[in-house]
């Protein structure tokens, strides 16, 4: 039973990182319909930004994290501005954007591997690395920070979408792009904003990994794949759905280890995903996919 609780706690911690990645990716996909796998690169870049800001520029941890989040938001916007928007202006179909995105992901990962080597690089976290005992469960303070960050990030994003004018514009574009344009909403600006917000919300996940086990160039690919699975499970267009899907996947992976050897982790996740997509393609709370299509 102790092992079960420990695995559940670990699942929750990993899940909080998946949540941050999935709600960022889900926001972008639900609004722009870009299958933005290069989001994985933004996630990894955020981690390297934070590492570089702390280790190379010598900034204090908190400042390094803030700088990295802003830099990640700008990176996401630049990808839209310099790659997707020019392609869309020339009438590229969504598959083209996906392939461009995939190419960019590979490119950034490999450039990062050249600059920083493929070895994990860990940030200094001071007392955040101290362990905490909660009953039979052992975690670090950093793990608790991860869970709190995910919770706060999720609530902040939902409040932003619900109450701010820009959030309303994002929801309007996500629900009916044509109508949004009809009342004078500039799609390209809303897309840029979506990339900024979606990248900024995912950045802490990468940074937390750099703080915990260290950043590697290729981890973003797994994360973005899991994020897309979580979003489709949760239902496209639903932020709480994406979070729920992400948490579900993480718990499944980690609790699965209780009875099944750990090398089966991703097989479990993707196996369940296959069942989902066949049996319930709309996910937990999703809208019909057609309604989002132009």
């Amino acid at each position: 039973m102790d092992l079960f609780l420990q695995l559940a706690a670990t699942g929750l911690v990993v899940g909080s990182l998946y949540v941050l990645c999935a709600i960022g990716w889900g926001l972008i996909y639900g609004t722009t319909l870009h299958f933005h796998v290069a989001h994985g690169a933004v996630f990894t870049l955020a981690a390297y930004y934070a590492y570089a800001a702390q280790k190379l520029l010598g900034l204090p941890l908190a400042i390094a994290v803030l700088v990295a989040i802003c830099a990640a938001a700008i990176s996401g916007m630049l990808i839209d501005l310099l790659i997707y928007q020019p392609l869309e202006r020339r009438g590229a179909i969504r598959t083209t954007l996906f392939i461009a995105s995939l190419g960019l992901l590979t490119l950034i990962e490999n450039v990062l591997a050249i600059i920083f080597t493929p070895d994990p690089l860990r940030m200094d976290v001071g007392s955040l690395g101290d362990s905490v005992q909660l009953g039979p469960v052992f975690l670090t303070r950093l793990h608790l920070v991860s869970v709190a960050t995910a919770l706060l990030g999720l609530l902040a994003l939902m409040a932003f979408l619900k109450y701010s004018r820009w959030g309303q514009a994002i929801r309007a574009v996500s629900s009916s792009p044509e109508m949004a344009r009809t009342v004078g909403i500039d799609l390209r600006r809303v897309h840029l904003l979506t990339y900024a917000v979606g990248s900024a919300i995912t950045a802490p996940a990468g940074i937390l990994i750099a703080m915990d086990v260290g950043v590697e160039p290729y981890r973003g690919t797994t994360f973005v794949l899991l994020a897309s699975v979580a979003v489709i499970m949760g239902g496209i267009g639903s932020i709480p759905g994406a979070a729920l899907g992400a948490l579900f996947l993480a718990l499944l992976e980690n609790l699965g280890v209780w009875k099944i050897p750990s090398e089966w982790q991703s097989t479990i996740a993707f196996g369940v995903f296959l069942i989902f997509i066949v049996v319930r393609p709309r996910g937990f709370f999703g809208r019909k996919i057609q309604s989002a299509e132009i």
Partner: protein, 255 residues
């Protein structure tokens, strides 16, 4: 009527899809402060004309001028800023948003437009939000939807959704409103509710271009009618004149 320059002028516009000439050398004027009915049999190109005017489609040739200014080739949100808005035949409401939010998004604001002013000029943004909110309530009152303001758009009855689709473009302050079949799918009682509304739009200084299949309605509502057939304007004039022309009624009713 001809002495006054048209607010919207469509000149020699053409658009084909593959081998099909959807709109061909289409020319007509829309006079300010009037209701112009765009009629014609199915497939005549009426909705394509709407898409061309509002920037959802690009034209192969021709010119569309709003108050003398070329708008053909502009993106839809630019066309809206210059003063032309539209509804869709399939309403495309923001179903998961409340009625007032649907209207609020149409209310023009400038301070909230710029992301940075959200942080730097929060006070100005808040004042403007309040003005937008007041404006949205006023629009809902005009359309008789005020007591539904906080319900989700998808929970409204269909005739009310039709009104909402008009309300949110009315809120943009654009002077030219293009209505794509505002009464389609409605029973006669609901039609009686919508029709005076279209009239009142004009009383509020709007110019209306309207696609409508109900001939009786068109005659009753429109000040002038443009008859479209196979993408071309066959005739334009007062509704009574158009309806009297046996050649046109034959095309329209296929008898």
């Amino acid at each position: 009527m001809a002495a006054e320059p048209a607010i919207l002028s469509v000149q020699g516009v053409a658009r084909s899809f593959g081998g099909i000439q959807a709109v061909d050398n289409c020319t007509f004027d829309v006079q300010s402060g009037l209701i112009t009915g765009l009629i014609g049999p199915n497939g005549a190109g009426k909705t394509t004309v709407f898409n061309l005017i509002t920037g959802f489609l690009s034209a192969d040739q021709g010119s569309i001028r709003l108050k003398g200014k070329e708008i053909l080739g502009l993106a839809p949100h630019r066309v809206e800023r210059l003063g032309v808005v539209r509804t869709f035949q399939h309403l495309r409401l923001w179903n998961k948003m409340s009625v007032i939010e649907n209207v609020l998004l149409g209310c023009a604001t400038t301070a909230g437009e710029n992301v940075f002013s959200l942080f730097l000029r929060a006070g100005a943004v808040r004042a403007e939000e309040q003005r937008a909110l007041d404006r949205a309530m006023e629009v809902l009152r005009f359309f008789g939807l005020v007591d539904r303001a906080h319900e989700l758009a998808e929970d409204l009855a269909y005739p009310e959704q039709k009104l909402l689709s008009m309300a949110r473009i009315f809120a943009t302050d654009a002077p030219v409103m293009l209505l794509d079949e505002p009464t389609s799918g409605l029973d006669s009682e609901s039609i009686d509710r919508i029709v005076p509304m279209v009239r009142r739009l004009v009383d509020h200084g709007k110019t209306v271009l309207l696609i409508e299949h109900n001939i009786e309605l068109i005659s009753e509502l429109s000040d002038q009618v443009v008859f479209l057939h196979q993408g071309q304007v066959l005739a334009a004039g007062a509704p009574a004149e158009i309806m009297r022309d046996p050649a046109l009624t034959e095309i329209y009713f296929g008898v």
